[in-house]
Structures are given as C-alpha cells and as structure tokens.
Symmetry: D2
Subunit: 370 residues, 4 copies
C-alpha cells in the first residue's frame, strides 16, 4: 500500500532514507497565490537539525532544502511543490555492524518481517531523519495558516520527571533553550538530568505539548476524519510517540461530567454577539469539530532506543547475542521532535481547512456565483 | 469533504442519524469467500444495545441489522456489503427542547458553526447511536480476523477511580458484567460508584483496554499509515475519547531507554527457529509495524456530557441561560463503548492486513504465477 | 480493493445486486443547505425504469427510493445521504439456468475468475440494475449543479446506423421518445430498426451525447484528475460503454492544428470585458480544465449482450455447449443509459467543483476571514 | 485538491514544471524485492526524448533520471521511490512573449482562470514535459509486470489519414521508425505527410494503439474502478488525448449483439482444461475485469496546438490580436506520446494487480497462514 501520503486536499507525500541520496516531500494541493520563500521552509528545518547543543548528536547535517517545483515568482502556483533535502553527512561505515542484528526498540526486526530485507544504513526509512520531509511540508502548511491568522506552537512540557511550570511560561524560550522548554529553570534541571542519563549510557523520554490559537470553529469532518482523530493519527505517526491526548486527556476519566463539561456564554464585541466556552477542558474540539477555543494536544515520547549500555538481541544467524550500540545518538528525542509535532499539526489543520470549504452550499455560491 | 469513510482496502462507509429512518454502513473491499451470517453481526450489535442493566439508559432499541447486499449463499461475494439498522425507538418529542440551546460537552454548537444548522433530534449524526454502523461493519472485520487466527478483545479497565486488578482478570466476565469489567469485585465497586453519580445527577468516565492476540509481524504501513497511527485515528474518532495509548503509553515518558527497550531472543519451536521479544513495553508495535507480540491499546473516555444537574449555556436567541437536561442518558459511556473500540480495532487491522498483501514481490508471484 | 466509490469530495458509494434485498448509494460530502426532496431523486430514477415502451423489457420495477439519512427539514445536513431502492420484481427462477454457464458478452466468467464464485441471479452486481444507485446519487449532484446555474443534458445521438439530424434537434423530445432521441424522425426510424433486431433475436448499440451548459472556467485538476480524464473514467465505468470522446473526439486525429485550434476573442458585456473561444472543437476543456464553453462528450455503447439467437459457450462442467438465452431483455441499452451518462457527468462535475474551491488562497480568505 | 496522484496501491505522484529546477515522481507502494536499476528507467525516458529525428523538435534535453530513494542493493525496498529529472535545456527567453497572450489549444487561459496566474515558461505544469515523471514511474510498473509475465506494447497506428497495415506489422520497427509505426511503408508515408504539414506551418494528429499480453483474468475492480474505466482515465489524462477506445471501440455501436459477443470455448492444455474466448471484440475486458484475452486500447491525439501559422487570440490587456507562435515544436505529438500511453497503461495494471490480491479469502490464507 501507500503509507507515505498524509491528507486528502493539502496532501503531503514524503520519500527518502537516512543514507540514500536524499529525502523530501511533495506537497500537492497547496492553494495558488501563497507567498512562499525558501527561507520560510529552511527556518523550520533548522529547528530540527542535530548538532546544535550538548544534548543532541554532534552529527552535522546541513539539511538545506531545494524547491523543485510549484513556486513561481515567489508564490505557490497551485501545482505540486517538490522539496528535496540532500543527504550529505552519511558515514555508512558507522552502520555496517547494525546490519547484522536487530536493535531493541527499533524497526529493524519489523521491516525485515514485512519486506524481507531492509536498508539498514542508519535505520533507512525508519530513521528519525524521515521527519525532515514532514517538516519541510509542514512549514508550507504553517505559512498558509499564518495567512489566515492561525498560529501553531509546540514546546517541551516535560523530560523524564521534570515538568515545566505553567506560571513560568515564556514563549521566547522555546527556540532558545536546547530542551525547547519555555521555562528556564526546568530547562536547566532537564539538561542536568540528560547529562546524568548520558553518563549512565542511558536515555530519556518526555512530553510535547502543542497549542493552536486563532482557529475558527467548524474545522474537522465527522465521523472518521474528526479534527482530534486526524491529529491523533498525525502525531502518533511520528516515530517514538506512544500516546496522544487532546485537552484534559487522560485526566477526564476520573472527572465527573459536571467538572468536565464546558458551559457556553454569549458576549458582545464590537456591536456583535458572539458565543464562547466558559472553560476549555475539551481542548478546542467538540464532536470532532473545532469549537473556537485554543486547540491543545500532547504527544508522549519514549526514550531514545539507541543506548550505549549492554542489551540482549538476536543476530542474523538467529543466535542470541549481547550488544553495545555505538555511534552518535541524542539522549532524548523530545527537543528535536517539537517542530515535527508542530508541523504535523499544521498539515492536519491545513488539510481540514480546505475540506471545510465545501461544508455549506453558501460557500459555493460565494465563490462561484458572486 | 467526506469524513464517513475509514480504511483504504477494507473500506467502511457509515451513514445515519439518531432519529432518521435508519443508520448503517457499507463495507467495500471484504474479500470474497468469507462465511458470514446475519447472526455474526447481530451478536456484536447486541453488545452495544442500551437498556440492558441498571447503569444504561432504559431506552429500548432493537437494533436489528439487515444485510442488503454482498452476501450470497452464506458467503461474502467480494462486492459491497450494505448494512441497515432501522431506527424504531425514536421519540422526537423528547428532544424538542434541545433544539433551542447548545448542550455543554456536545457537538450542537460546532455542527451549527460548521453546517449552518443541525438535525437536533437526539444529537443527529453526532449521537453515540452513530456507532451502530461501525459495530455492524466491525463485526465483519472481526469475522475475517478470526479466519486468520487473530482475536480482538476489549474490556473496561477503569471507571472513575476504580480500576480492575490484573490478577483477578477473568475474560468470561467481560460479556457478563454490566460494566464490561473482567473483574467481579471491581465491577461491583464501579456499579456502586455509578449509582452515586446518578443520585448526584452526575456522570463518570473511564478507560477501555483492547488486546489483540495472534497478529503476525509485518502489519502496518510506514510512514503515516503506521499500525499505531491508524489505530489512534480509529479510536480517537469514537465520540468521547480524549486520549489513546499504545503499550506502556504515557508511562514511557518517565522511563529510561534501558527499561523501555524490549530485547529480542530466538528460540526453537517444532524444529524451526523463531524470534520473539523478551518484554512487551512497545505494546506489539515497532516502527509502526506489528512485532508479533500482543497488541495493546487504551482509550480514555470522558464522562457522559448529558447530566441532569444545572448547567450554563446560550440559547438560539443568543441569551445566557441555565438548563437542566432531561431524558434517558447513561451515567457512563464506557461499558457500551467497549465493543466499539473492539470493532474499530478490528476494522483497522482488516484494512492493514489487506494492505500488507502487496508488500513483497514474492506475494505477487505466489498468487499470480504459482 | 474498493471499486464502488467515485469522487473525492462529493463521494458516491454504491452497493447492491440485481436480486438481493435492495441496492442504493451513500452520498458523502454533499454541502449542507441544499434543498432536496425525495421527488428530486425519484424523477431521475423514473427515467431509468424499464417497462415503459415497446423497446424496453416489460419487467416491472417500481424503483422507489427511500432517503435514509442526511436530509432534515427539506435540506441536506452535510452528513452522508443514505439512499435505498428495494428490489421487488425479482423472479429468481428465471435465472437458475444461467448459473450453469457463462453468457457471452457478460461478466459471468470474469467474476468467477476474480472472486471464485458469483451471485448469478440476474447478473448480480454486474447487472445493469447496479446503475440505479448511480442515478439516485447523480440526481443529488444535478440538484447541486442546478443551484449554481449548471445544466447537464444527455440524449441518444445514434442507434445502429441511424443518427439524429442536428438541425431537427428538439430538447423536449428527449424525455418523450422511447429512444431518448431529440429528433422525431430519427426516433421513428430507430424504433423500426430495433423491432427488426428483435424479430431477428438480435440487439443493437448506439451513441449517447452529453452537453453541459453554464459551467464556469477553471474546473478540473491537473494532472491525473483532469476534467476530461475523470469524465472518461466516470462514463467508461458504465457497463457496455466501449469508447469515450470529448469535443471533436476521434475526428481530431485527421485534422490539422490550424483547423482544430480554437482561437480566443474578447468582447464586452454589461460594461465588463470577457474572453471566449471563437469555436469549440475542444468540447469545453483545455489542459484538463473547463474553458467556459459548452462541455461535450460522447459514450459509445455496445449492443445488448443478452440475445435470443444461438451462441457458443462453456458450462460449469467445462463442456462446450450451445445456448439460447431466455427472459426479458432490452434490444438496446442506449435509451435507458442516457440518464446514467447524465448522472455520472453530474457527479464528476459536483466533485470537481468542490475540489476547485481550494485552488486559490483568495477563496480561503473569502470564506474564513471576511 | 490533489490531481497529481494516480493509483491507490501502486501510487504515482508527479511534480514539476517545464522550466523549473526539475521534475519527477514518487512511486509509493511498489512491492519490495523487485530488481530495479537506473537503466530500467532511463531506457523508457530515452524513448520520450526530443531531438531524435527530423519530425521532433531539435531541443536537446538529456532527461537523465536520478533515483533518490526506495532502492537498496539493486532491489526495491517497499518504501517510496523518489525520481528526479533535472531541467537543463530551458531557455526561458524563448517564452517571454507567450506570457502576454493565450495560445489557442493550450491551457494558458484555463490555468489563469483556475489559479489566478500561471508559470508561463514553456507551458509550466501543462507542458508535455510533465509526462517525463509519468514515464519514469511507468518504467517501474513495466518492470513489475515483466516479472509476472505481462508485456505492454504501444505504437502509432495512424498519423492524419495514414494508417498502418496490420498485415505488415513488425514489432521491431516501433523503436526504430521515427513515427513509432510498426510498418515501414506507413512510416515513410507519414513522414512525408508531416514534412508537408511543417512546410505549411501546420501540425497533425493521430492514433496510438496499446496491447497487453500475458494478463491473467480477474484484474479490475467493479464498479467505478473497472479496468477499462481506470485505463480511460489514465490515457485521457495525457494532454492532447481526445478519445479512448477499448477493443472494437466506437465500431461496436453499429454492430449487432450476435456480431459483437465473444463466445467461449474450453480446451485442453498440458492435461488441464482451460476456457478462452472464441473472438476478442471486447478487447480483453468483460464487466470491467480482464478476461484473459489480449487487452487492446486506442488513444486519439489532437494535432500539436503550437503551429507557426497566424492565429487569433487575446492578450493580457484584453485586446484581440493576431499571433504567430515561434520556437521549437514537434509537428505531431503522437510518436513521443507512444511511450507515455504504454507507461500509463502499465501503471494502471500494476495498481489493479495489487488491488486484486485482496479479492479472495483464500489469498489471505495463502499469504498469512501457509
């Protein structure tokens, strides 16, 4: 089948392995007339790049994007936007050993079972590097949302046991701290914890939170393409994510209905009456459709599976062996995955915003007969 | 757009409102030659029916399914299977009032925002009754899985604070307890808690767990149609679900890599060597592909939004009002949603099992040239 | 796979066999707020009904449609519209014989090869009766187009050698002549020819032409979902169609570029300048996108395969046998297929009209920010 | 929407404009384990290249393909295959003039109407050059078919009035004659005719025929994804195609049923009984499913719209003007489109071969439980 396509109208196809010639994406269905510059995409890719701090791998990847098509005179043309990122930093020699066994926590075993063999260099298609294509595509989605006044922001909410303090929230810190935490004190503690993990040849997990402001009500398609359902797929499809929550998430299971329901109120603004929710336990979605409140989701990410301490596994001759993984690996996936969560959220919203254009006959009349 | 289709190969389309003439599903893509009887479907629908205990609404719905097409001489023919369930118990009079305001926690407001108006009778398309179509379709998926030795089982893991004791797990109880809990003591405590909620005109949430045994490795399509990603969409698309976990789920974020990684071992069985994982923190999925272990997921469900205590909302004239909802409503959604989670899981697996047929050239050779 | 779905946004799923309980369609993605009445659909189905003249089978089928969902207070709600037509006139006894051999020109052999067995009653899913679902769905598409000032009209252009005279074209005759020819003299000659065929236990083919007026330029999606490409699929998917032409069709292959190219001119209308083509060899499509001229296509239909004269075939024991088909069969498919071509054209246009809503950023601004 | 994707399982996405950095395709869903070399693709692209004879433009395009992903150690891996062809011969200066008016017979006008503006350089996305991506992808499909013993062959059947003589058919000539005609005499006459067209600053059309041998019965999905319906879309989506025929095509409309029906016979081969058709008017398809006979289709192609004689059109200021197109243009599209028809046919078959894997439960048992 064809698992590398996401979206129905704003449609993203990705391709590429960690150590092949390159990877990228084709974005089909982006409306014509969106101002788009290479730098709009590059700045998102730069947030994903490794080698930027003591807690990410020192592997150097330039990750420079080339726009192959679909943009003319600084604007999207409505045709597919081809995006290419060349692989430059591959040192295939590093990976010759892992061809011979199944790394615990990785997809080596399942790729072999599915396809009969695998491109073992750096994890091939199952490498975290695959997300570069998503980020390039997501940057375009984010540009489109920006034009409509919608803003998507993700950040690290916790690493291991260390959680940010909502009261200390400082948006500017997201792009400044190496943990992507919007809280300087939590960042400091998390970095200390990660160094401890590294010393112990171990790794850590964490939680990414994503918030969307400016989203109009009405977005999301019942029954199966609900906003929250599509976001769940989008976010869970990121390697290492093991749980997705919307709004109050798992805590709702212990609430009473009287606590969890969000009442409504009407209010006057600039002479017109509007309706809003009194609280936002729902996280911005009711019945799978955006309700005009802030959209809130969380992705729960497992510890990096590539650890340097001894592990038990099986080699290609079927023998039980002990291994110690070598190479350059981040002790935590979370900080570099923040922009991936942001991008998958943006792609999902872009797609459902286009889908919603056909929800009412009056929209057709407005576009076609006025 | 078209949000009422799920699946690419085993494709389910649902239709129908709570109080229209009927609801149902069309299952397109079920392979020919599967033995299928009306009773195979009816027994799943019967598990979803209300009015079966003191903790579900006393509304009587017969929910009898009719197979309209696609089955001939007791076998599927490979053509679309039309499934119809007539609505018989509608008492539209009950719902005249809710046409005039937005119920907190329901989709009344968002449907109006999206479509300009709504079928307000019993929640229309956003009613929990919509899941009858999913269950009818899911029963067929489950039949198909059964033929391949795959078994899907869901149950209530917790209601409010009351959780089952894994040591007391008794599979037979799932269909016998009114909470769908596989633990008699927990069931008793949960029923007591729910009666308390009812007395207080309030409602409760809970957790459904689903386990799949017999699933071969190799199922799931990277990158976006990963097994866990598609399951996340499938399960999150069920009304009232606010979080989805795979395997160890949210708890992985506090684990170290050395704790969370599942090692591999090889062993001999009937003269052949096989590979299995030493533990199953992953919940049966690695890199989005089934790994041969038990598949485990959890759905977190919010408290029933229809509660009888006073709530604040807005009426259709834009006035802020207080309301007290009347009618027949379950104090908890969880027990009746168990079969829905099971069915959405089965549909997802059926679809990805068909998709995986084209993963290798040798499969084509086996089917077409041998 | 899933071959019973057509369209991406205005999505039609059909189901049902000739002799099962019923057949129908689910239309998912019809915008909310379209006035729709059962009679809007019934009048299209009535055009497809048999038993209405001496040149169609005398089989009586009431073909009454029931709307199961998606319409509330006389308007579409934006949710799936379930449509059911009960089979009432089945006399399965008539078909017991055909279970034992492969009818030439029918799908008996290929269904057996594909699925391993078949519902042989009346051709099962491959019966012309399958088109009832398409017509019910197409009637809704036509209603939507009508609201936007777009009109779709199909008619019989020829039967055997007898062709209509364009100068004698009388639109009103399409619904009055039993051949669906818009030319009384051609109709008379065609009926005489068909009677001759019937006497000779033989059958005839013919050509259906379809014209669309009021279609705005810009509809159709390059590269694979071009307007003409999607129409070709839509029309070729009707059983018995063996060729599809757009505009001047096959005759362009003998033209020179200077003859076939349509020049452009600008003109003034109500104070504004507009552009139009000087001729319409293209049939209303340039580069797969509507060009504002009349859209013109033709479907070429083979003679009814069920003929009463002797034929050679193979029975289920693999023996070569001679057969003489019995039963009630139209001597020509063309007249009853006219409304099917019209409906498939309408569905294709409805789908691509919705798709085109997302072609420009300015449309998003108009819907979301004004 | 998203018109640059074709296929559901063997899924081809194309991108790229005539004068941007490059164009290409992503093939998602090709089964793992197919031997594939760059030269397998290059040899198809070389057949499409211009500048190879006196009857094609002397423009030089190297059209060298790069495989970006999805192939490892000479075999497909099951992951998306990225294919890139750099544009090298662009001389944008040639096209500055056409930015200012609408060329008759081209998509300039309709792209402007759809998207608000267009990449006018060399026709942008609507250039015939777009087909390079299809050919690169189609070469992979053809490799897959070859492994299963299926062979696809297209050739020029006629140019203007000059038609090949079936008795003179010589398959080897297809790749040798500059017209791609499998008949030396017809080739000679056609070249003379084309020179005449060139002298008269005019252009010609023609017919491409495509034949598939070795195709097993059972391929094609009723109702809308019939083999012939999908082929019709595939072929009509090629720019300049105005009609598609299957088997006897338009001539069936004048046949009687007794002439057009193909009888069946059984015969013995290597001790087993088989069934075949006595004739092949159907062109290898019955009820939208392959019937085991040779598959035959024809594409009817209009004369090249870029002609050097004077034409009437409108400029961007809305003025009526006369133009004379300059530049390098083939006097006929047909010979270079032969490989495109072949490739679109191969892609369609590859996709439906994968789809058919899930037609029977016994296939699932064979793959999963044996």
């Amino acid at each position: 089948m064809s698992g590398s396509t996401f979206g129905n109208l704003f449609r993203v196809h990705t391709f590429g392995e960690s150590h092949g010639p390159g990877l990228g994406a084709v974005v089909d269905g982006c409306p014509a007339g969106l101002r788009l510059d290479k730098s709009d995409i590059q700045k998102y890719l730069d947030r994903r790049k490794p080698g930027q701090s003591e807690i990410t791998t020192q592997r150097k990847e330039s990750d420079e994007v080339e726009i192959l098509s679909g943009v003319f005179e600084g604007k999207t043309t409505g045709t597919p936007i081809g995006l290419l990122i060349r692989n430059t930093a591959q040192r295939s020699g590093d990976y010759s050993e892992i061809a011979s066994y199944y790394r615990p926590g990785h997809a080596d075993f399942t790729f072999d079972e599915k396809y009969g063999f695998r491109d073992y260099r750096g994890g091939g298609r199952s490498s975290g590097r695959e997300t570069a294509g998503r980020v390039a595509a997501g940057a375009i989605a984010a540009r489109m949302l920006q034009e409509l006044g919608i803003s998507v922001m993700a950040y690290t909410r916790s690493i291991g046991e260390i959680e940010i303090d909502p009261k200390a929230f400082d948006r500017d810190l997201i792009l400044q701290t190496s943990t992507a935490m919007p809280d300087a004190r939590a960042d400091e503690r998390a970095r200390a914890y990660l160094k401890e993990c590294m010393v112990e040849k171990d790794s850590a997990g964490g939680v990414i939170e994503c918030r969307v402001t400016g989203l109009m009500p009405g977005i999301g398609e019942p029954v199966f393409d609900k906003l929250d359902a599509r976001l769940a797929q989008a976010v869970m499809s990121i390697g290492a994510v093991k749980a997705v929550e919307i709004g109050d998430g798992i805590s709702v299971t212990r609430m009473r209905g009287s606590e969890n329901n969000d009442g409504f109120e009407s209010y006057e603004d600039e002479g017109a009456r509007h309706i809003r929710k009194l609280t936002n336990h729902s996280g911005g979605v009711l019945g799978g459709i955006s309700d005009g409140s802030e959209l809130i989701l969380r992705a729960h990410i497992k510890p990096t599976p590539s650890i340097f301490s001894p592990q038990r596994t099986v080699n290609k001759d079927g023998e039980n062996i002990g291994i110690e993984i070598k190479g350059r690996h981040d002790p935590v996936i979370v900080p570099r995955a923040v922009v991936v969560v942001e991008c998958m959220t943006a792609i999902t919203l872009a797609d459902l915003l286009l889908a919603n254009l056909s929800s009412r006959m009056e929209n057709l009349r407005k576009i076609y007969t006025e």
